[in-house]
Symmetry: C2
Subunit: 224 residues, 2 copies
């Protein structure tokens, strides 16, 4: 493990987490709960397989990741975060919050996308405007595998998978969906960009922001 050699809390944290791909592996485990090696590879497009194996070993010996041999009939190894690893959630939330402006600008050329990455924008932007009402569940299809957005106790939660009986199903490309979530775009405008709303649109509007959320510009200021 390459170390900064500084007796400083921030530097020590980066000694463990600062290598390339490391925090993205933590992201995937936070989003998945448990994941197989192949699931991680799929959620981390671009990673070299030897790097994934090496990072998992490092995170394991740092007490952040746990490797478990699943019992039959699964018969595969699954990875999950330790409690110490779970403590990284606020850190990843801050990273996501700071990175949101780069997302609202739309995907860059060649950017890949996985449905679960929408979890940060969703939990950041969406709020339950009618918390005393019955819970709503929204199924989101922005890529290949759906996401469920649910309200509970006035809070909005996101998880992977399908809803048993969704109030509304939302389909569309990530960027217009994000515009909808951030309030930068109205429902009609989103429809014009291919977003489809199937079911009870009121359930959707209940969690959408009433006014555009102020997102600081993320792009660079150009220099002479």
């Amino acid at each position: 493990m390459r170390t900064y050699g500084q007796y400083c809390a921030v530097a020590k944290a980066l000694d463990v987490l600062g290598d390339r791909w490391t925090l993205l592996i933590v992201r995937e485990l936070l989003l998945s709960g448990t994941a197989r090696y192949t699931d991680l590879r799929n959620g981390l497009p671009g990673i070299a397989t030897n790097l994934l194996a090496e990072r998992l070993r490092e995170l394991e010996s740092a007490g952040v990741v746990l490797r478990e041999e699943a019992p039959p009939p699964i018969a595969t190894t699954v990875f999950r975060l330790t409690p110490r690893g779970e403590q990284l959630r606020p850190l990843l939330d801050e990273l996501g919050r700071w990175g949101i402006p780069y997302m609202t600008e739309g995907p860059a050329e060649g950017d890949l996308f996985r449905e679960q990455w929408m979890a940060w924008p969703a939990e950041l932007f969406l709020t339950d405007s009618h918390p005393e009402g019955p819970p709503v569940s929204i199924e989101l299809h922005a890529a290949e595998s759906p996401l469920v957005i649910e309200t509970a106790d006035g809070e909005v939660h996101v998880r992977r998978g399908r809803a048993t009986n969704p109030d509304v199903v939302l389909r569309g490309a990530p960027h217009p969906i994000l515009g909808l979530f951030s309030g930068q775009m109205g429902l009609e405008e989103a429809r014009g960009l291919g977003v489809e709303v199937e079911g009870d649109a009121a359930a959707l509007e209940r969690v959408l922001p009433a006014a555009p959320v102020l997102v600081p510009p993320g792009a660079s200021e150009s220099r002479p």
Copy 2:
């Protein structure tokens, strides 16, 4: 700029911040407010000068760092964070919080230390147990350049420099000072490890935690 190529807020943030040394440069600027190139080098022992220059350029073009030509008679360039860079403070706080356990274990062999790095443990551990009383100021000498710990409105703040009229002056090695701050170590025990308290010890005890703060173990679980 090397990018992960993922349309994800966390990945986008790491595209900007994930390179080696980058977040430590932000740390120094958060701690210093403004800093000259040489100040940054001093606060980042181990960094190669070309890397510091390159990172500063990247951070500048990312809108995180501002480079200013100070007017005469200073006649030097100073660096500071933009508002966008200031927004990284919660992120660095989370990094510091997560890294604290590695600090309480004591410095590793060859670890270097700078006084200002004590800011995170201090603001994390210390609280004003008597907020309605008059403000107290504590001057801390754990290395070469002193730190001031002050209470204001029931909050504890840390800044570089000296106090005009400190209630108490605290001197000692970083590790026992940290033990004191985290409540793992009593005042008498700290004295035995070379910590000196000069002035009103009650002012110090006012901000120290009454009971040991629970710090999760940071060390790795050893494997077979």
